[in-house]
């Protein structure tokens, strides 16, 4: 097996050799070794995207001792999380913020010091408040301060600059049917809705698989010959797809069942991924945990949880109709199962090297609307989870809920740029100092102290291209 070290390959003569071929301009621009971090870790970063603008003010409402409680109650009636009685918010240590009552799993993780929240977080560039879901999601995920740029996501740029070793089978996964924008452009990422879906098994059984004893080469193996011509992008995409299918083929992603599936996956620690709502989210988290335990080298994962766009009928936890609460419960139970499963792995507490960051494209308006819901807002809550997280704290500076303190008089303002939270994870957990490459246009790295790990001087590739990017 070719066990070349990727860094050596890149800094050695191979770069020059490649520079002589077609596309030599590309390789010649490749950054020299000092910008490839020797500090890269094998941690995993899981980015959960709450699609539809999660109402952070309901996930993390002001508690009884909070100076913002009165303004909160003046603005929220039908969507209010109360402080007492049925549906009362859960008190949190070290803060006057409280937690939605149906996030019991997240609360336990917070109290144990493994979860943290960042308030008044969001996007600040370039048009700060973009109220379109798609555009705001796109801005956040492409991470260039607005717009889709050249269609490459921030997580792709992190992977590309983050010192990925050669012998890593499955560096990145985008859980879903279509690649998340943050991983767009990455040839490292496998996009899949569920691990167990992802295999070729539909040819007739008689000619599907190989039978070496009889010299039979089946349909699945023949596929490579169809796609190997390298003629266009489509063929390349096909080969990548077939490679990914081959990698995952031997793995049984279905849950363990003593009678029907004894080789299936058994979560440890009693972790229960079966969610009452948003079942796919639980399944995907379980698949990701399984892939992490299999040591496939997973470095970056994106998972989506939708149904947060509560313009109408958001509900509240005092009544049986509590749409938002259902969503919170799915998020909390799912992440809780994930944490339990990985922290009790046979090989040790794997959550020590897994960090979960939960983002949403923007928050929701402080004053609720007349449809029992809330409209698009701005500042929101980012949730962070991991074994190497300084949990049990709420980070960020809160701008306040009085009308004079609101952005444009309507929304929670943003005081913490989402890139500040993510770049701290990239440096302290992933060991990648190239945060200004992951987020072009971002500057002034200032860790909030959410993540454990050593700080590195932040950098990017920009010193090479400080005079622009035109061909020499």
């Amino acid at each position: 097996m070719n066990a070349f070290n990727r860094r050596d390959f890149l800094k050695g003569c191979c770069v020059t050799a490649l520079a002589a071929g077609t596309g030599s301009r590309a390789r010649a621009y490749f950054a020299p070794p000092p910008l490839l971090p020797a500090t890269a870790t094998d941690d995993t970063l899981v980015v959960v995207f709450l699609r539809g603008a999660m109402d952070g003010l309901s996930l993390l409402p002001p508690g009884s001792a909070s100076p913002y409680r009165a303004d909160y109650e003046a603005s929220r009636t039908n969507t209010r999380v109360p402080l007492s009685g049925t549906g009362a918010a859960l008190a949190l240590a070290n803060t006057t913020w409280a937690l939605h009552p149906r996030a019991t799993g997240l609360r336990a993780l917070y109290q144990a010091g493994h979860a943290a929240f960042v308030v008044a977080a969001g996007q600040v560039q370039p048009n700060p408040v973009v109220r379109s879901h798609f555009e705001a999601q796109s801005n956040l995920e492409f991470g260039i301060g607005g717009g889709g740029g050249n269609g490459i996501g921030w997580l792709t740029r992190h992977l590309v600059s983050g010192g990925l070793p050669a012998n890593v089978p499955l560096p990145a996964a985008s859980m879903g049917s279509i690649t998340a924008n943050s991983l767009l452009g990455s040839s490292d990422a496998i996009t899949m809705n569920s691990g167990s879906d992802f295999r070729l098994d539909t040819f007739h059984w008689s000619w599907q698989n190989d039978d070496a004893a009889h010299g039979l080469v089946g349909g699945v193996s023949r596929m490579n010959a169809l796609w190997g011509s390298n003629a266009t992008l489509l063929e390349r995409a096909g080969m990548e797809t077939l490679d990914s299918l081959a990698l995952l083929r031997p793995i049984d992603f279905n849950p363990y069942d003593a009678a029907n599936n004894p080789d299936g996956y058994q979560p440890t620690g009693g972790a229960n991924y079966a969610l009452a709502n948003n079942g796919g989210f639980g399944t995907q988290l379980r698949n990701v945990a399984q892939m992490i335990k299999l040591n496939l080298g997973l470095r970056a994962v994106t998972i989506d949880l939708g149904n947060w766009d509560t313009h109408v009928g958001q509900g509240n936890p005092t009544q049986s109709y509590d749409w938002f609460g259902n969503q919170v419960e799915s998020l909390s139970q799912g992440l809780s199962a994930f944490y339990t499963d990985l922290s009790t792995a046979a090989s040790g507490n794997l959550m020590q090297r897994v960090s979960v960051i939960v983002v949403s494209e923007f928050g929701r308006r402080v004053l609720e609307n007349s449809d029992g819901g809330t409209d698009h807002g701005y500042g929101n809550v980012i949730t962070v989870l991991g074994g190497a997280v300084n949990g049990g704290h709420v980070y960020g500076t809160y701008p306040g809920l009085a009308s004079g303190e609101l952005y444009e008089g309507n929304d929670v303002a943003v005081t913490t740029d989402y890139r500040q939270v993510i770049s701290e994870a990239l440096i302290r957990r992933m060991g990648n100092p190239n945060i200004y490459y992951a987020f072009p246009g971002y500057s002034g790295y200032a860790p909030l102290g959410i993540f454990q790990g050593a700080d590195l001087p932040p950098s990017g590739f920009d010193q090479i291209f400080k005079n622009g990017f035109e061909a020499a």
């Binding site: 071929g21 077609t22 390789r27 621009y29 490749f30 048009n127 109220r131 379109s132 050249n150 490459i152 792709t156 740029r157 590309v160 012998n167 089978p169 985008s174 049917s177 279509i178 690649t179 767009l184 040839s187 490292d188 990422a189 496998i190 996009t191 899949m192 809705n193 295999r199 070729l200 040819f203 007739h204 000619w207 009889h214 039979l216 596929m223 010959a225 169809l226 796609w227 011509s229 003629a231 266009t232 992008l233 489509l234 995409a237 096909g238 990548e240 797809t241 490679d243 990698l247 031997p250 335990k293 299999l294 040591n295 313009h311 109408v312 090989s347 609307n369 007349s370 449809d371 590739f461």
Partner: protein
């Protein structure tokens, strides 16, 4: 704890993945290298977009692949009869397709009738009443309207003679995308397809725009039904501008005092008034005010006693009567429902709308990136003809007769839904999808389930921006992988009960092959695979033809006849596989030959040539 498998395939796979990783390391900021540089994809910058080495099918095949729901030999035969040169035939074909009412579609109509749909002809009021009556008691019955619409659409895509119409109906459904399985909106879906979209597919955009707005399915999708004076709901107004008309390409963001901002260009509209060329956030808020009071009867407390529950209703008392300002134009106080109709006029005739939609149309038919000169020419036509009853037909004709359309190839790929429909059309599948509530696992259920896994079940996209339309999206590993998984399965599925061998296949491979080669001596691998290559692809490209041929013939010569008749039986029932023949070497060519042919055709369906367009 299991570690990564270390087979040869795994190691080879990892080397290829690494290779791709290295190729991806080149800096992404240089636009020459970017993955999304127009006309290019991937950081594999030494891979040409449409290289000369790429063989392409004959022109008629290319055009029919792009302008129908799926190429088939029958389409080609009908095409060839339309004239004496390809160009003349194409003129005739397009003209015929653009007058769908004159095309005899009785075959498809019979299939639709045989499906026994019960909800598709119901009025909005009837569907509303049915939904209210069913309530939470029976999910299947409640959602039957959307389930039947899904099946009827598939039947038309598979069997209608009005293929260009179905291609464009699909386009408009993506443009005005409504999630069909919304719990409240799904039961009301059929009129959206039947009355708002389909009558206007080749017609007038302005007409379609207002019709989609007034449809209950769209009202629920974008919350317009609950927008009223003092509490306007901005959701519909935003998507109206961002997705339905001007497009995000014409969005200028949040601008204070936009009408006084010199950096925002204006133009003179059809009424001689100044309009802004780009929209800003204030326009969205004002447009939301314009459309207050546009609702569905009995959908809210305020309309709870109104007549015709479920029908569109404009409620003056809920309309914001104040002065409004959208795109620099003044809406005087007391405009009533005319505020809304004026807004639709403004947006339909806006040159930004023309450019946005022309761009989407060009990209649907030609390539992921199209020269802006073509887009602008199509946009100019769209704009000039904004009041013409055949506006869309004119623009579609313009695009289909463009040089870019006629000479292009390989710059798009089939999305999963299109791959499936074109596979079933090319193989002349005998398949009439119908909803089913029995315990039986039907081929319809299997098909929609697998299509959902591949990411493109019909009317299943949750956001109003519709399914993407680019190679980038559909060549992602999950979508392409699950499409490759789905396509061979089509040849193994059975009527009535998908996994039950007692029922006929939905695709009769054996029957069609024996019919094409009645003389057993002619059933050579070369003939049979060549035949199916022609059927599915319209030509015999390498390496695909060679791979399928070598697989099918095994150790036999390409010119040796193969036995496609002798079959195994189980309790007297034919198994449709052939006979087991893993005896001493050199007899794989006799091993389960009937099944092997289906696998070979599956390989053809999984080829890049089949997925390219």
């Amino acid at each position: 704890m299991a570690s990564a498998p270390a087979s040869a395939a795994f190691n080879a796979a990892r080397r290829r993945l690494f290779d791709a990783v290295f190729a991806a390391v080149a800096p992404s900021i240089d636009p020459q290298l970017s993955r999304r540089r127009p006309g290019r994809d991937g950081l594999f910058d030494d891979i040409p977009e449409s290289p000369e080495a790429l063989t392409s099918p004959p022109a008629p095949v290319r055009w029919l692949v792009r302008a129908t729901c799926g190429y088939s030999t029958l389409e080609l035969i009908a095409f060839e009869a339309l004239g004496s040169t390809d160009d003349a035939r194409w003129q005739a074909w397009v003209a015929r397709q653009l007058a769908p009412a004159a095309i005899d579609d009785s075959g498809c109509d019979s299939l639709l009738a045989s499906a026994g749909f019960t909800t598709l002809d119901k009025t909005p009021e009837q569907l509303w009443a049915a939904r209210e009556a069913i309530g939470n008691s029976n999910y299947y019955q409640r959602m039957l309207p959307i389930a039947e619409t899904e099946c009827a659409t598939l039947i038309r895509q598979l069997h209608s003679q009005r293929q260009l119409f179905e291609v464009m109906a699909s386009f408009w459904h993506d443009h005005f995308s409504v999630f069909g399985w919304d719990y409240d909106g799904g039961p009301l879906f059929p009129p959206f397809d039947r009355d708002a979209i389909r009558p206007n597919v080749f017609g007038n955009f302005r007409t379609m725009l207002q019709a989609t707005c007034e449809s209950a399915a769209m009202m629920y999708m974008l919350d317009l039904y609950t927008s009223y004076s003092g509490h306007p709901n901005e959701n519909y107004a935003r998507e109206l501008m961002e997705l339905h008309t001007l497009g995000a390409e014409n969005y200028a963001g949040i601008v204070d005092d936009p009408d006084d901002d010199p950096s925002l260009p204006t133009y003179i509209d059809w009424q001689g008034k100044i309009q802004r060329l780009q929209y800003v956030d204030d326009d969205v808020y004002e447009a939301a005010r314009v459309l207050t009071g546009w609702t569905i009867s009995q959908s809210t407390w305020e309309t709870r006693n109104d007549p015709n529950p479920g029908a569109f209703e404009y409620v003056q008392a809920l309309h914001d009567a104040g002065v409004k300002r959208v795109l620099h134009r003044n809406f005087s106080a007391g405009g009533g429902q005319n505020d809304g109709t004026l807004l639709f006029d403004m947006l339909a005739q806006h040159p930004g709308t023309a450019h946005f939609i022309a761009g989407k149309l060009c990209r649907r038919f030609i390539g992921d990136v199209v020269p802006d000169s073509l887009v602008q020419a199509a946009a100019d036509l769209f704009h000039q003809q904004w009041q013409a009853p055949d506006q869309i037909a004119q623009v579609v004709a313009f695009i289909l007769h463009s040089n870019e359309f006629k000479t292009g190839w390989g710059t798009k790929m089939k999305s999963p839904a299109r791959s499936v429909v074109s596979a079933l059309r090319a193989t002349l599948a005998n398949f009439t999808p119908v909803p089913d509530n029995s315990p039986t696992y039907t081929p319809t259920e299997e098909l929609v389930g697998r299509l959902q896994a591949a990411g493109q079940r019909l009317f299943y996209w949750p956001a109003p921006n519709g399914y993407p339309d680019t190679i980038t999206a559909w060549s992602s590993t999950g979508a392409l992988g699950l499409t490759l998984k789905l396509l061979p399965r089509l040849l193994e599925m059975h009527q009535t009960e998908s996994y039950n061998n007692a029922y006929p296949f939905i695709v009769d491979v054996q029957g069609q092959t024996l019919g094409a080669f009645p003389n057993a001596a002619d059933r050579t691998a070369s003939n049979v695979i060549g035949y199916w290559c022609d059927r599915l692809l319209g030509y015999r490209p390498q390496p695909t033809f060679g791979v399928a041929l070598d697989f099918f013939r095994q150790e036999a010569a390409a010119s040796d006849p193969l036995d496609l008749v002798t079959d195994s039986t189980d309790n007297g029932q034919p198994q449709h596989v052939g006979v087991w023949h893993l005896n001493p070497p050199n007899t794989l060519s006799k091993h389960y030959t009937i099944a092997r042919l289906r696998v070979a055709i599956g390989l053809l369906l999984c080829s890049p040539e089949f997925l390219r367009r």
